[in-house]
């Protein structure tokens, strides 16, 4: 049905989105690239100039850089694993004929509506706080020492908080996918004597592959840039134990006011994102015949 004229019309219709997004991407990217080779400190405006790769070298020579890189990947990977696995389990559970399914969905979806700074501050203050948090109160109730979440397990704590925020998103997409699975197929397998586990392994999971792919793709895009939750809770610490690449850039931009370095960090982050995207598309892209 794609005639010559409809092709042209299609181009015209796609154009605004493409042009706008191109400007939105290209202009800041070009400016960032420019600044990444400049000495530009907000508070010392009289010292400027070209500095070559100095800003990039600062990152590579920083003792925190490789840790931050690892933390970034661990954060993305950790949250993905937790949300996908728990998301599948929750989807399977809610898909069962249970009483009050509508209300259940309402409860499960709630974290998705919570602003990230609010989510982080709830967890930090009301739950993980070593003296006033609910977890500490529970630990004391059992006569145990409260766990120092943000001091001893900072990255895991952040992963936990972010997972909580994204779990509803994953669970709902997976649930929608599960609900589109025909029940005849499952019943037939059940008649044949397939165990619950093998039904999951050979029928349900393959059916959900596309949904899982979508969850991974969308979440990765959002998770690669996360720093607000870290800023609110651990501030990247103690030391740099929970510093990620975006947080490292944030510190250069906000604390040190070194725009040149922050820009170089931004370019490095874009390269990292592209590498991740490349492997992502190679690994799971075939499930996504978008």
């Amino acid at each position: 049905m794609s005639t010559q004229s409809s092709r042209l019309a299609a181009r015209v219709m796609v154009a605004p989105s493409v042009v706008l997004l191109f400007i939105w991407m290209a202009v800041p990217l070009a400016m960032t690239l420019y600044y990444s080779f400049r000495l530009y400190r907000l508070l010392s405006p009289d010292r400027t100039g070209w500095v070559g790769f100095t800003n990039y070298l600062w990152f590579f020579n920083s003792p925190d850089f490789w840790l931050a890189l690892w933390n970034t990947l661990a954060l993305v990977g950790g949250v993905l694993v937790i949300t996908v696995v728990l998301g599948i389990l929750i989807a399977l559970l809610i898909d069962q004929p249970v009483k009050g399914q509508g209300m259940l969905r309402i409860l499960v979806i709630a974290p998705f509506f919570v602003m990230p700074p609010v989510a982080a501050s709830i967890w930090e203050n009301l739950f993980m706080h070593p003296q006033n948090g609910l977890f500490a109160a529970i630990a004391r109730g059992f006569g145990a020492q409260p766990i120092l979440f943000l001091e001893e397990y900072p990255l895991l704590s952040v992963i936990g908080i972010v997972s909580w925020e994204w779990l509803p998103f994953a669970a709902l997409i997976l649930l929608t996918s599960l609900q589109s699975l025909s029940s005849e197929q499952l019943e037939a397998a059940e008649m044949d004597g397939a165990s619950a586990l093998s039904r999951l392994r050979y029928i349900i999971l393959p059916h959900m592959t596309r949904a899982i792919t979508v969850v991974i793709l969308i979440q990765t895009i959002f998770l690669l840039g996360i720093f607000g939750e870290i800023f609110t809770t651990t501030q990247g610490g103690p030391g740099s134990a929970s510093t990620t690449l975006p947080y490292m850039i944030f510190k250069q931009a906000i604390a040190a006011k070194d725009i040149g370095r922050a820009a170089a960090g931004g370019i490095i982050a874009v390269i990292l994102a592209n590498i991740v995207a490349y492997f992502l598309m190679r690994g799971i892209g075939r499930h996504l015949d978008a």
Binding site: A9, S121, L172
Partner: protein
């Protein structure tokens, strides 16, 4: 996937499902409860529940200390405005990609998504300077534009996957009737795609509402939304758990209520083409 199950199994799964749901929901519930306690009761150890000191004082305090209606209204305008503008631009694009796909459609989609990968902090100063030059700092229109562009890839993708599931025959039939292209989109496609558009709209309103970086960096007073409202309550002198909880509850309540009432529409379209 409704199958006949024994009553016993149904009871068991019901208990399990409700336990899981309550655990997930609990932090929000706890925050709301804390917002109604006095400060002393909020940090009491062991935690107080039935015997707690209940009060509405925190809400009165938060209300009197800041211009909540203005922050609220800015949030509404910005999240709804950016979403509607995004839809107006994305619907034609998604339509074209779905019904007149080219060889590069998939690459184009992926490229659009990749524009979201630039970390916000890295482009903060460049973008701030740009907005300054354009006179868009602390204007609603500036934030509408920024958030629209930020979410545009998601909008295009959601709509695209939704449009693709619409059988082409319906459009063919419309074309036979001699409907023009614009009319085709307006009168044939849009009604069929309405649930998908509604779902896209909801998701993007939520994403825009919860955005808490650019909304703070690019505003001062006139256009500041609820994320800036929260930033004025976090960590004042002393951690006022109850007041912070009250302010937080006020910031998320509108979107929580909207989300709950419309969750059926939201979930229906939240597939991103994940359902064949």
């Amino acid at each position: 996937m409704a199958r006949a199950t024994s009553p016993r199994r149904k009871t068991l799964t019901t208990i399990a499902a409700w336990s899981v749901a309550l655990i997930i929901f609990f932090p929000v519930l706890w925050m709301i409860l804390t917002s109604f306690k006095t400060e002393a009761s909020a940090v009491a150890s062991p935690p107080e529940l039935l015997g707690a000191d209940w009060t509405l004082e925190n809400y009165a305090d938060v209300w009197s200390r800041s211009d909540y209606p203005r922050f609220f209204w800015n949030s509404v305008v910005i999240s709804l405005g950016s979403t509607l503008l995004g839809l107006a631009i994305a619907i034609p694009a998604a339509w074209a990609m779905a019904f007149v796909p080219g060889r590069r459609t998939k690459d184009l989609l992926m490229w659009m998504l990749s524009t979201k990968m630039m970390p916000a902090v890295a482009v903060m100063i460049p973008l701030y300077l740009l907005f300054l030059q354009l006179g868009l700092i602390d204007t609603r229109i500036g934030l509408v534009l920024a958030l629209m562009l930020m979410n545009l890839p998601i909008i295009v993708w959601m709509l695209y996957t939704y449009f693709k599931e619409i059988p082409g025959e319906i459009l063919e039939a419309a074309r036979m009737d001699g409907a023009g292209l614009i009319k085709e989109i307006l009168y044939v496609l849009t009604p069929i795609a309405l649930p998908g558009i509604a779902s896209t709209l909801l998701l993007n309103v939520i994403l825009a509402w919860n955005e808490a970086f650019w909304t703070i960096v690019l505003t001062t007073t006139k256009a500041a939304p609820l994320s800036a409202f929260i930033a004025s309550f976090s960590a004042p002198q002393g951690l006022f758990y109850a007041k912070l909880s009250a302010a937080s509850t006020m910031a998320i309540a509108p979107i929580l209520i909207l989300g709950w009432f419309s969750q059926k529409q939201l979930v229906r379209g939240l597939t991103f083409g994940a359902v064949k």
